[in-house]
Structure formats: structure tokens, C-alpha cells
């Protein structure tokens, strides 16, 4: 990062320090070019809020979510147990993820394998930081702009988190507009259940096109997302509708960071 260094758990531990929270970056957040921008935005926000956070860096490995959803319980559990060994080794107690899939897996599926942590999705942490005043947004790039939010399945239905991302968006003073299929009735972007890593089965339409069209019909200036897979699927959908010039797909963390000129 330009003006600060993101510490790893190894570095912090070597200095005898403990972070307030571990930032679980996730594979998409580490490797996907678009998702990396979201990771940076989130890191800037955490830094700006004065949070002492660390990442696992090269010690982080896939949570095993796509393996579990695809039916490969062996691979999932091997990933999980290796990660749990690392996390417990650092005595991690609190984690924030930039991805609802990592969030769901760490929060719900690690405890039975010996890994119990307080796990937050970044929408929840941002809401806390905004509510407590550790982050302040005053107007900014999205004031008065029409925004719609696409619920990630693994944040919404899977874990009943519907309000946190909306409360974060509200801070932007933008014009929030809801799709007909939202919250518990939200339509999947098409990437869950390991679909991200395969071609769709035969059908007459791709799911991300169906969802992108629904969002575009509201004529928003931005489609807000909170998941790197939704980001890919909806960006592709918007592009295939030739609307990428007019409508931006943005993660809520990026939007807050932009509004704060970070």
C-alpha cells in the first residue's frame, strides 16, 4: 500500500503484538484483479479507522468452500483443518472477511472441526465502524446517485444478514432503490455452489444475465455488491448488456472508501 504497510500475523507475533482483528482476504481478494481493488479499499478503511489488523499472507489458504459446495468433503476438511491449525496457532479470536463464502464457512462450518472464532463479514464491520464514528462519511461521490444492492446468497439467505450492507450504503446519502427480488427473495448471481468454477449447465439463459438485467432495469448509476463472485458475475452481465460505461458495479467497501477520498 502507498502510505502504510499491511502486517502479517507472523510479523506481528514476532514483534510480540496482537491485532484487534484478522483480515481474512480470501482467494478472490488475493488473486482476482478486480477483487484486489476491493481488498485494498477495505485495508485502507481499516487503517483509516485506526484498527490494528493483520493478514495471514502466504499462510492463508482456501477455506474449502467451493470444495464443500461441490461435494468434496475430504478436500474441504483438509483445507479447514490446516487453516484451523494456523488460526489457532496465532490464537485468533476475531476475523473479518471480504467474501461471504469465506465468512459463512469460517463462521458456521469451522467450529465443528475445532475452529471457533467471532467472524464478521466486511459489511458488518463497516457498519460498526460507521455507527461508532471510527469511520466518517460526509456526502461524497455517491450523494444523490441511484444505487441498488445485490444481496449475496451466502450473506443474506445463508446467514440472515440483510441490513448491515444497506446501513453502510445509507451513509453514502445515495438514492437507494431495491430490486423486486431482494433480501430473502434475492436472486443468486449464478456463481454459488462452485458454479464460479465451471460452465453453467445447459439452459436458455445465464443466471448473471437474468440478474444484471433486473438491476439495469432500475437504471441505477451503480450496482452495489458485497462479494467477489457477485462482482465478477454482475460485471460480466453489465458488460454483455453494453452498459459498462453507464453503470458501475462496486463493492460497498470501495464506495465508502471513494466517498472518503481514500
Amino acid at each position: 500500500m502507498e502510505n502504510f504497510k499491511v502486517p502479517t500475523m507472523a510479523e506481528m507475533t514476532a514483534r510480540g503484538e496482537k491485532p484487534e482483528i484478522l483480515f481474512w482476504v480470501g482467494c478472490a481478494g488475493s488473486f482476482d484483479d478486480r477483487a484486489k481493488k476491493v481488498t485494498k479499499a477495505l485495508a485502507k478503511l481499516l487503517h483509516h479507522a485506526g484498527m490494528r489488523f493483520a493478514v495471514l499472507g502466504t499462510e492463508e489458504s482456501c477455506t474449502g468452500d467451493p470444495a464443500k459446495r461441490a461435494g468434496n468433503e475430504f478436500l474441504f476438511q483438509m483445507q479447514a483443518m490446516n487453516n484451523i491449525t494456523v488460526l489457532n496457532g496465532y490464537e485468533v479470536t476475531k476475523i473479518v472477511t471480504g467474501c461471504p463464502h469465506c465468512f459463512n464457512t469460517l463462521k458456521n462450518e469451522y467450529p465443528q472441526l475445532g475452529g471457533s472464532y467471532e467472524v464478521l463479514h466486511h459489511s458488518q464491520l463497516l457498519q460498526q465502524l460507521l455507527d461508532s464514528g471510527r469511520l466518517k462519511v460526509e456526502g461524497g461521490a455517491y450523494r444523490g446517485k441511484k444505487v441498488t444492492f445485490h444481496d449475496p446468497c451466502y450473506l443474506g439467505r445463508a446467514n440472515d444478514v440483510y441490513e448491515a450492507p444497506r446501513r453502510v450504503i445509507m451513509r453514502l446519502d445515495s438514492l437507494m432503490t431495491e430490486m423486486k427480488r431482494s433480501k430473502a427473495n434475492g436472486l443468486c448471481c449464478g456463481a454459488g455452489g462452485a458454479q464460479m468454477f465451471k460452465e453453467p449447465e445447459k439452459g436458455d439463459k445465464d443466471i448473471n444475465m437474468e440478474r444484471a438485467e433486473e438491476a439495469l432495469a432500475l437504471k441505477p448509476e451503480s450496482i452495489a455488491v458485497a462479494c467477489p463472485f457477485c462482482m465478477t458475475m454482475l460485471s460480466d452481465g453489465v458488460k454483455l448488456n453494453n452498459m459498462e460505461g453507464e453503470v458501475k458495479v462496486k463493492d460497498i467497501a470501495e464506495m465508502i472508501a471513494e466517498a472518503m477520498d481514500l
Binding site: 485495508a43 470444495a67 451466502y154 439467505r157 445463508a158 455452489g193 453453467p200
Partner: protein, 435 residues
């Protein structure tokens, strides 16, 4: 006396065959793997009260919710009337509960309004299926028997309610004429409107019609009771236990496979003590190939399904033309467990009929279309979980048959080799911090 004896015979026969079929359904459900579900009983009662008794999940489709509520309330309350019919039938009395006086009048009047509501709702539902032809009512998996089943239920309810109202109409005329045995009792706000159709008839004809309707109503109810366990209509009973036993953990939490956990622990730590071996017999399969690989709750889910199709109509895969239909998953599971149960009763418990839920009923292409988004689970008014069956069948395909789609096998290999579902070096995990 003869009619009382006949009545007793019909009642006993009806209840006997109903109980026998229910035992059969129960033993079919227990073909599933054992599973302990008795944690948090307080929460479970609450869920059942809210979702089954209180119909809380119906409201997302208000038209269906309203008319369904009419039938539901009608069904539950009009059954008080059945109690009176049974007492009258056994003891040769007539309107035995009429001693309650004006409260009885109120009850009968309420039943009549409810009967009218049920009639109206049945006609609306018939038209949704056969005239308006709502998309979720005419999907391929409903071809043939399921469609007939739905129409039969609605027509039967119309006939039963009509008999009830005609019975009351003729009864009220006989009461007004002071016919013997017809005590002055009841208020007839709805059937009163039918009086002009019948009041030209003689007392004998009216009595014949009244008795016929009375017998038709009770025999119809007994017949319907026996039809229910063969039909999608079984949801009227199973909605209650099915919601009680439903999953209380977050929808995103998929169950932990302990059989796998034991092996993984051994693999990662050779000094670990192996879990006691499974009792003799076939070792447990990973995932589900047939209904016996599913747990009993998943089979109860299948019997609780009334094929409303809310799941399928909210499934992103189905909406975009893929083969997957969560409703079909549930219908196939029930059909298969019924078939297997029948075979085992005929040929003995060791029988193998050579068929399986996977392939003979459900094709892998359906399973691989699922995004695990939980829309189907969210949509179900009786908390059925089609996703858990889909995932268990994927587990079988992947862990027993190595039959995942090639791209997914590639993804697995990348996770194994470099700890990410894409081909990147773990050493590059911090690259995002630069530039």
C-alpha cells in the same frame, strides 16, 4: 340399529386402513439413516407454531396465501362438525351437540360460512391450475398423476362441502316442517340460500336427500382420509412434524460429515486413534446414491411436499431453463422411497431392485445446475430442504465416483496444489498490497 352398525363398520374400516398406510409411510421414512434431532425443543415448538400452525411462510404469495387460509381454517374448524357426525352415527342421535343452544347456532353458521369459503377457494385453485394455468402449476414434473392428484383433491373438497350445505338446507326445511327426529337447531346463513331449490320436495324425498348427503359427507371424509397418505395432500399432517424437526442452524451451514472427519484426522495425524469401526455390514457410503443413503428427515421432507412449486419458481437455475427443479428432487425422492418400500415389503429386507434415486430418477445434470443459493429452502412454506439432498448426491458423485464435471476436478486439484481454486502461487498472496 342397522345404520348404526353400518356406520361403526365404515368408521372402523376407514380408520384401520388409514392407520395401516400411515405405518407404511413411517417405515418408509425410517429407511433413511438415523439422525438425532431433539436439541432446542423450545425453539422447535415455536417454529412449528409459527410456520405450520401460523402459516407464516405462505404470505409471500398473497393470493395463494388467502385462499389457502380459507381452506386451512375451514378444514380445521369444520372437523368439529365431524365429531358431531360421528357421535350421531354411533348412537343414532341427530345433531347431538344442539344442547349448546345459541352457541350451537353460532358454530353451525360459522361452519357454513367457512364451507362457502372453502368452495370459493377450491374453484379459484382449480382455475389457477386448469384455466389460468400458472407456470408453476403446469411444469413438466406435474404431468400425469401429480396433476390429477391436485385436481382430485380440489374436486373432492368441493363435493364434500356441497354435501354439507345441501344436508343443512334439507335439514332446515325438515325442521321448519316439524318432521319427526329433526330437532330445531342450528342457523343456516349459507344453506338457507339453497332452500328454494328443495322446498318443493316431499318430506320423504327431503329425508332421503338429507340422509344421503349425511352419509356421503362422512363416507367421503373417511375415503379422503385414506387417500391423503397416497397423495401430495399428506402435507396437512406432516407439515407439523416437518417444521418441528427442521434445521435451526443458519441455512449456509452444511452438515459436517463425521465419517470423513475421522479419515481426514487419521490422514493428517497418523498418531490419532481411529474411531471405532462401523458395526458390521456394508460400510457407510459417502453421500447419497439412493434414498437409504439419505437421513430420515430428508425422507420426511419428501413426504411433506405438496408440490406447490414455490421452490422451483424461485430457483435461479430453473428460471434460466436448466434441468434442475427442486420440487422434482422432492417428488423423485418420495416416488423412489415409496417404490423401494413396496419392493422390500414384497421381497424381504435384503432385496435389491437394481434401481437408485441417482440416475433412475435424478440425473447428475440436474444436481450440477444448483448454485446452493438456498432460494428453494427459503421459499418452502413447510421448511423442506431440497438443497441438502442435492449436496448429498453431489458428495456421492464426487467422493465415491470421482464424477464431478472436469472443471470442478481442475478446481479441486488447484486447491490441493496451491491452496486456491485458481492457478496462483501461494507466494503471491500479498501481491495486492503492492501498487
Amino acid at each position: 340399529m342397522l345404520s348404526q352398525f353400518l356406520f361403526l363398520l365404515c368408521l372402523a374400516t376407514g380408520i384401520y386402513f388409514f392407520a395401516r398406510k400411515i405405518r407404511e409411510v413411517s417405515s418408509n421414512i425410517h429407511l433413511g439413516r438415523p439422525l438425532q434431532i431433539n436439541d432446542r425443543p423450545g425453539d422447535r415448538w415455536k417454529v412449528m407454531a409459527r410456520v405450520a400452525l401460523g402459516q407464516s411462510k405462505m404470505g409471500s404469495r398473497p393470493v395463494a396465501a388467502f385462499f389457502h387460509l380459507l381452506i386451512y381454517v375451514g378444514f380445521v374448524i369444520i372437523n368439529i362438525e365431524v365429531l358431531e357426525i360421528i357421535i350421531d352415527g354411533l348412537f343414532g342421535t341427530h345433531r347431538v351437540l344442539s344442547f349448546m343452544g345459541s352457541f350451537y347456532d353460532f358454530l353451525i353458521a360459522a361452519f357454513e360460512w367457512l364451507a362457502l369459503g372453502v368452495l370459493l377457494a377450491c374453484f379459484v385453485f382449480l382455475s389457477r391450475r386448469n384455466i389460468i394455468r400458472l407456470k408453476r402449476m403446469i411444469m413438466p414434473e406435474l404431468k400425469g398423476w401429480p396433476r390429477t392428484d391436485a385436481n382430485l383433491i380440489l374436486v373432492t373438497e368441493i363435493l364434500l362441502m356441497s354435501a354439507f350445505l345441501i344436508m343443512n338446507a334439507t335439514d332446515s326445511i325438515l325442521q321448519a316442517r316439524g318432521a319427526a327426529h329433526y330437532v330445531q337447531a342450528g342457523a343456516f346463513p349459507v344453506s338457507g340460500m339453497l332452500v328454494p331449490f328443495f322446498d318443493g320436495m316431499s318430506n320423504d324425498a327431503l329425508i332421503l336427500l338429507e340422509r344421503s348427503c349425511w352419509w356421503f359427507h362422512i363416507l367421503g371424509i373417511l375415503a379422503f382420509l385414506n387417500y391423503v397418505p397416497y397423495s401430495k395432500h399428506l402435507h396437512i399432517l406432516l407439515a407439523f412434524p416437518n417444521t418441528w424437526y427442521s434445521k435451526l442452524s443458519p441455512k449456509g451451514q452444511f452438515n459436517n460429515m463425521e465419517s470423513v472427519m475421522n479419515e481426514v484426522k487419521l490422514m493428517m495425524d497418523p498418531s490419532a486413534v481411529p474411531a471405532p469401526a462401523a458395526p458390521e455390514g456394508t460400510p457407510q457410503r459417502f453421500g447419497a446414491r439412493d434414498v437409504r443413503d439419505l437421513n430420515w428427515k430428508q425422507l420426511m421432507d419428501a413426504y411433506s411436499c405438496t408440490e406447490c412449486g414455490r421452490c422451483t419458481s424461485s430457483c435461479p437455475a430453473n428460471l434460466t431453463g436448466k434441468l434442475l427443479s427442486p420440487r422434482k428432487i422432492m417428488m423423485d425422492t418420495r416416488d423412489r422411497v415409496e417404490e423401494l418400500g413396496r419392493q422390500l415389503r414384497i421381497h424381504g429386507p435384503g432385496h435389491d431392485d437394481g434401481k437408485t434415486l441417482l440416475n433412475d430418477y435424478i440425473r447428475p445434470e440436474e444436481l450440477w445446475a444448483c448454485t446452493s443459493c438456498n432460494a428453494c429452502v427459503e421459499a418452502c412454506p413447510v421448511l423442506i430442504d431440497p438443497l441438502s439432498i442435492i449436496i448429498d448426491m453431489r458428495r456421492y458423485l464426487v467422493m465415491e465416483q470421482s464424477a464431478a464435471p472436469a472443471e470442478l476436478n481442475g478446481m479441486f486439484t488447484k486447491i490441493e496444489n496451491n491452496g486456491a481454486p485458481w492457478q496462483f502461487s501461494p507466494a503471491d498472496r500479498m501481491n495486492w498490497t503492492e501498487s
